[in-house]
Each structure stands twice: as C-alpha cells, then as structure tokens.
C-alpha cells in the first residue's frame, strides 16, 4: 500500500466513523460564507464581551468629553508633513462658536499639537465580566481620542458602539433562552403526545402568536414605572421578547418531534418494547439537537432586530443603557443627517451582526441535514 493509499484509507475510515456532529462540522467548514460569518460573529461577540477594556472611555455621561461634542471621527495617522513617527497620533482640536458661523461649532485642527496613542492606558474604572479594572486598550497621552466621533453630549461613539453590541447580544441571548425553554416544553408536549393535546396546545400557540407586538409594547411602556433602573428595564424587555418569541420556535420543535416520532428506527425501538423515556432520550432528543441549534441561531437576529426596533421607537431600552437601537434614536433629526453622519456608524456594526448570524444559521442548516447522505 503506497503512502497515498494509506492516507486515503485513513481519510475514508475517519469518514465512516465520524459521528453526526463531526460530519456537520466538516460540511460547515466547506461553506465559505458561513465560515466568514462565523469569524465575524466571534469577533463581534469578543468585542462585546470585552467592550469595557477595548473602549477607551466610559460610554455613559461619566466618560464624556465636553470639549468635543458632536465631534467628527479622529483617525490616527503615522505621518504628516512634519515627518513620520512610529507611534500613531491624532491632532488636538480647538473649537469656537462665533456669530459669523451662526453659532455653529467650527473645529480647528491644530497640526502642531500631536497627541500620541498609547496602549494599556489607565482610565475610567469599569466592571467587566465581574472583574474590576481601569486599564483600557488604548488612549492618548493628552485629551481624548474619538475614533468614531462623539454625539451631542460628547460621549464617545466608539465606546458606545462596543457596549451596545454587548447589550444587544445580551438581550438577544436572554430572550432566545426564555423562548427556547418555553418552546421546548410546550412544543415538546404537543409534538410528542399528538392528538387532542396537540390540538389544544396549537390553539394556545396561535393565540399568543397573533398578539400584535407594537401595541403590546406600547401598553407595557405605559405601565413600566420610570423609577425602574436600567438593568431592571433590560431584563423586563428581554423577558417580554422571550415571551412573544416562543410560538415560532415551539412550532418548529413540534414539527421536528412529529417527524422524528414517525421515523422507522423509533418504531423499531418501540417494537422492542422501549418505554417513552428511552425513545425520547436515545432517539428524539439527539435527533433534533442539531435542528434546534440551527433554529436558535436563526432566531437570534430576530431578537436583536426586535430589540433594536423597539428601542429605536422609544419603547424599549433607554439611556443610559446602551443598545444599538438606543444609539439609533439619536439619528432621527435632519441636523444629524446633514452634519453628523458618523452617528450612523453603529448601523454598519448592526448589519454585520445580523448578517453574520444569518450566514452562520444558513450554513448550519445546510450542514445539518443528515438525510443528504442517502445512497
């Protein structure tokens, strides 16, 4: 047997002994758009999780820069006509309002005032993943750096964007988890038992699904006391999203179960005398784990979208809790559209996040079809 034969045999044996999970991963890896989506997703999650460290300033009013409100993005550079430097730098800015400019800010960049970028800068203190710290990834030796510019109060948009990703992901995760648990139980009961139970559960599911979301949220918004803290509001919104989102997932769980229940290998187990517990444990649950993971990943963007939309129209999260929807709230004036276009940078991140989820979800779904192995 030659070298290539041996390699070929090993490869074939690996294929034959590969479990379903390994096969799915192998197929997923071949899907380029899914892998890119996965990489982007991991990157964004990383950015969200480590937001306090990665962002130079506190995203709330506490970290604002009163001297640079509505400021344009400051891009670091290496060289200018005064020479190059190994460390990137930005320019200091001075601003003035005057009668001549109709009381608008006029920003003057002072090219003599170089402010060098530093890494691991001490700055505003924060809590990240339960750890207290005050080291930030980067900063400037004097003044502040605003990679994405600032908003009307002087808050750094870059810091806000990173924290917003975190919040949106957190709301999405919580919402999906709540939906999932409810869908699993409700859809599971309907799918496994079938018959009358299924009929009744279906009616309840459809009833919940037909509840119109916007009026419901408006009603909720009216009831929520202003005295609630931002965190409480955050949990509340997540729970509501979860409670609204379960019907779709429950229907999918039910469908999967109905299909799997009628599989011939399930019948074979029953004919051997298997009890329902055994059938569920050994056949039904493993079979739909891969489908459910796909469903979860695909539901995520809807949760994020819902939260964003709600926050955008003011029914969801509010300042100071930062989410992408909250940040978009500020973009609705003509002033912003004409003069402060950098307010829209978070939109790009938002699109990237949703698209990443969609690609990964589609890739998983394509990879997870085990019956593509036929013949």
């Amino acid at each position: 047997m030659t070298q290539t034969d041996a390699v070929e045999t090993r490869r074939k044996e690996a294929y034959f002994t590969a479990s379903q999970g390994q096969l799915i991963w192998a197929r997923f890896r071949r899907n380029r758009s899914a892998m890119i989506g996965g990489a982007v997703l991991i990157l964004l999650v990383f950015m969200g999780l480590f937001a306090p460290f990665l962002s130079p300033y506190d995203p709330t009013v506490a970290g604002r820069n009163p001297d640079y409100t509505n400021g344009a993005p400051q891009i670091p550079r290496f060289c200018d006509d005064q020479g190059c430097s190994a460390r990137p730098f930005i320019y200091g800015v001075t601003r003035e309002r005057s009668i001549e400019t109709n009381f608008r800010w006029v920003t003057e960049i002072d090219t003599d005032d170089r402010r060098y970028l530093q890494v691991f800068v001490e700055g505003d203190s924060y809590r990240m993943l339960g750890i207290r710290g005050d080291i930030h990834l980067f900063g400037v030796d004097e003044g502040k750096i605003h990679l994405f510019g600032t908003d009307a109060a002087g808050k750094d948009i870059f810091s806000r964007t990173l924290h917003a990703i975190n919040t949106s992901l957190a709301v999405g995760t919580l919402g999906v988890l709540i939906s999932f648990v409810m869908a699993l139980v409700i859809g599971g009961i309907a799918g496994y038992f079938g018959g009358v139970i299924d009929g009744v559960v279906q009616m309840i599911t459809d009833a919940v699904r037909t509840v119109p979301a916007i009026p419901l949220f408006m009603a909720m918004a009216a009831f929520v006391p202003d005295t609630w803290s931002a965190e409480t509001r955050f949990f509340f919104i997540s729970i509501i999203l979860g409670l609204i989102g379960w019907p779709t997932l429950a229907r999918r769980v039910r469908t999967h179960l109905l299909v799997e229940r009628n599989q011939e290998y399930v019948l074979a187990a029953r004919l051997a005398g298997a009890r329902p517990g055994h059938v569920i444990r050994r056949h039904l649950l493993p079979s739909f784990t891969s489908y459910i993971i796909v469903d979860l990943v695909i539901s995520f963007p809807y949760m994020v979208l819902s939260e964003t939309a709600l926050s955008f129209i003011g029914l969801g999260l509010k300042d100071p809790v930062n989410s992408l929807g909250v940040m978009l709230q500020n973009t609705t004036s003509a002033d912003v559209l004409l003069n402060y276009q950098w307010y829209f940078i978070p939109v790009l991140f938002f699109m990237a996040l949703v698209m990443a989820f969609v690609f990964v979800g589609d890739g998983l779904r394509d990879a997870a079809d085990p019956y593509g192995e036929r013949g």
């Binding site: 294929y15 034959f16 002994t17 590969a18 479990s19 379903q20 096969l23 599989q263 011939e264 290998y265 019948l267 074979a268 187990a269 029953r270 004919l271 051997a272 005398g273 298997a274 055994h278 050994r282 056949h283 493993p286 079979s287 085990p370 019956y371 192995e373 036929r374 013949g375």
Partner: protein, 330 residues
C-alpha cells in the same frame, strides 16, 4: 405435526374514516375476517398488491396496530396466549419473541448511532444483558451470523450500502433471539444482485436459529423462491393459501392465476397474455359487495356479485375462497 406457532382467527382491522352525523361512519376495512395458521419453523409468504392488507396483517400480528375484532393465538413454549387480549406486561414479553424487519434500510437505522449501538439497543431495552462485555459478545455473535465485518461495528450507518444496512437491520432484529419474524418487504428496496444475497441470508438464519418467518412481499417471484407456504390476499381478505408448489403449479383462484400470468417472464417467447385483468383495484374504503374480486374477474357470475365466498378446501393442502374454482380448474 405440532400446533402452528401463530393462528389468526377472524381477524379484522378497520380504520374509521372521518365522522358522520347520521348513520355509521365510513370505515376502511384494511383486514376483514382473515384466518390463517403459520406452522412452526415455516417460511410463510404473504403476497398481494396495494390495498391487499398484507402489511396490516403483519403489523397486527406484531401488535403494532390496533385490532378491531378477532383473535391471534401465539403458542410459545409456555402455552398459548391471545395476542388481541394481551396486557402490557405480557406484551413486553411478546416483543422478545416476535420482531419485524423493515423495508427501508435507509430509514430503519438511526443515523446518529454507531452500528454496534444500533444492534445492542434491544438488549438494553429488554434488559437481556448485564455487563457491557456480555452485550458486546452477543452483538459480535449476531453480527458474524449476519456476515457483517466486525471491524465495521464502530462505524455509522452512512458508511454502509443498502444491502449492508439491511443486514445490520436484520442483526438488530435477531439479537434478542426471537422465534417469529415478520419481514415486511425486506428486499423490495434492494438491487436485484443484493436481494438474492439477503434472501439467502434469511434462509440460512432460519435454519441455524430455528425461526418462523412471515414474509410479506408484492413480488411473487421472490416469495416463490423462499417460502414453504404462500397466502394470497386481495382487498383485505385471503383468497388462496397453499403450499408453494401447489400454488405455483396449479393456482386455483382466478386472482392468483391473473397475478401469476402478470409477472413478466424472463423467457421472451413466453406469451401469457391469457389472464389479463381489466379495470383498477377498487378502493378499500369502498369495497364491492359479494366476492371482492368479482369486479375484475373474467368469470364472475350473479352468485359472485352477491355472496361472499368462504375459504374452503381445494385439495392438496390448498384453501381457496372462490365459488367456482373447481369448474375453472378443469
């Protein structure tokens, strides 16, 4: 001759079709008053076309489908029991004795389990082994009998061809050492060259393990080769039961004759157009009165249209349900 292993007496399986406010709801009579005996150690063939009820009969004997009326007597070592009246505990014990081989080798195996686990599953469910070593030993034993490569036990079903998967399915069926096997179209989904292999395997397993088979198929030539006895079904009833040679050499029922002549012969000069049936198979939800076959029978008389024929003695160990079989045989 010892008592038959399975005796079916006047078995009926009816499925209700929808509801009706007045009068009786329409029923689909999948099986209607079927009686037959399956001798111990025999390879009993059951043939029929669509709607014949052969699959339903197999499933009913395995208690995999609800029974409307009738008795099924199973004589295991201990005594005889009526399968239609069995309680839950007794049913579990019955599952050890009677098993099913499925038609579709691709659907019958859980793609997420290794072959070893698939074959071992019934042992776990029935609690037949205590240690992992014991299970492994039994799995290897039955896998070897089914001519599976023991190296491949750790592979997943997707690694195997249709014929190999069917062998895995058979191994799973036999691991608990049952006495009675229902093979429902066990070779229908396989290529011809593989079919012969599986059929030979089934025959040798029957001999080695002393099994009794109920072999259900729509393919008469396959049944002809493996069976000792053959029963022909039409629209939920039995029309003829005979030992193999008697059935194929001298069929008595007009439907059997038509079925045999419809099978395309491998001899191009064999012109058996004589017995072509006219018309379609009636729907089991709306069966004709009298003899169920009279709508397509070239010899139907007024008596056939009104009176249901009973299964009677046809000589040579044959039982046939036809009013006029004797005249038609001369």
């Amino acid at each position: 001759m010892s008592a038959p292993l399975v005796s079916v007496e006047n078995l009926s399986v009816h499925y209700p079709l929808g509801r009706s406010l007045l009068g009786r709801a329409p029923v689909l009579k999948a099986l209607n008053r079927v009686s037959l005996d399956i001798p111990r150690g025999a390879f009993f063939g059951l043939v029929g076309e669509s709607g014949s009820g052969k699959t339903t009969l197999g499933r009913a004997i395995l208690r995999a489908t609800p029974i409307t009326e009738g008795r099924i007597v199973f004589r295991d070592g201990a005594g005889e029991i009526d399968l239609a009246e069995m309680g839950r505990a007794r049913l579990r014990a019955y599952r050890r004795e009677a098993q099913l081989i499925f038609q579709d080798p691709y659907a019958a195996l859980n793609p997420r389990m290794t072959v070893r686990d698939i074959i071992a599953e019934p042992l776990g469910i029935m609690g037949l082994t205590r240690t992992r070593d014991e299970t492994d030993a039994r799995v290897r034993e039955i896998a070897a009998m089914c001519r599976l490569n023991l190296e491949h036990l750790r592979r997943f079903p997707h690694a195997f061809s249709g014929g190999q998967r069917q062998r895995i399915s058979i191994a799973r069926t036999l691991v608990c050492r049952p006495h009675f096997i229902v093979a429902d179209e066990a070779v229908a989904a396989l290529d011809v060259s593989i079919q012969a292999d599986i059929l030979n395997l089934l025959k040798s397993l029957q001999k080695d393990m002393g099994l009794t088979f109920l072999f259900i198929s729509h393919d008469l030539s396959v049944v002809a080769h493996v069976s000792d006895y053959v029963a022909v079904m039409y629209l939920g009833t039995l029309v003829e039961i005979a030992p193999k040679h008697a059935l194929f050499r001298k069929p008595r029922h007009p439907y059997t004759k038509a079925l045999l002549s419809a099978i395309p012969s491998l001899d191009p000069d064999d012109d058996r157009k004589a017995q072509r049936l006219s018309g379609e198979i009636p729907s089991p939800a709306n069966p004709p009165p009298g003899c169920l076959f009279h709508t397509r029978c070239p010899h139907a008389t007024a008596r056939c249209r009104s009176e249901i024929p009973e299964l009677g003695d046809g000589g040579d160990g044959v039982r046939v349900a036809c009013h006029h079989w004797k005249e038609l045989s001369t």
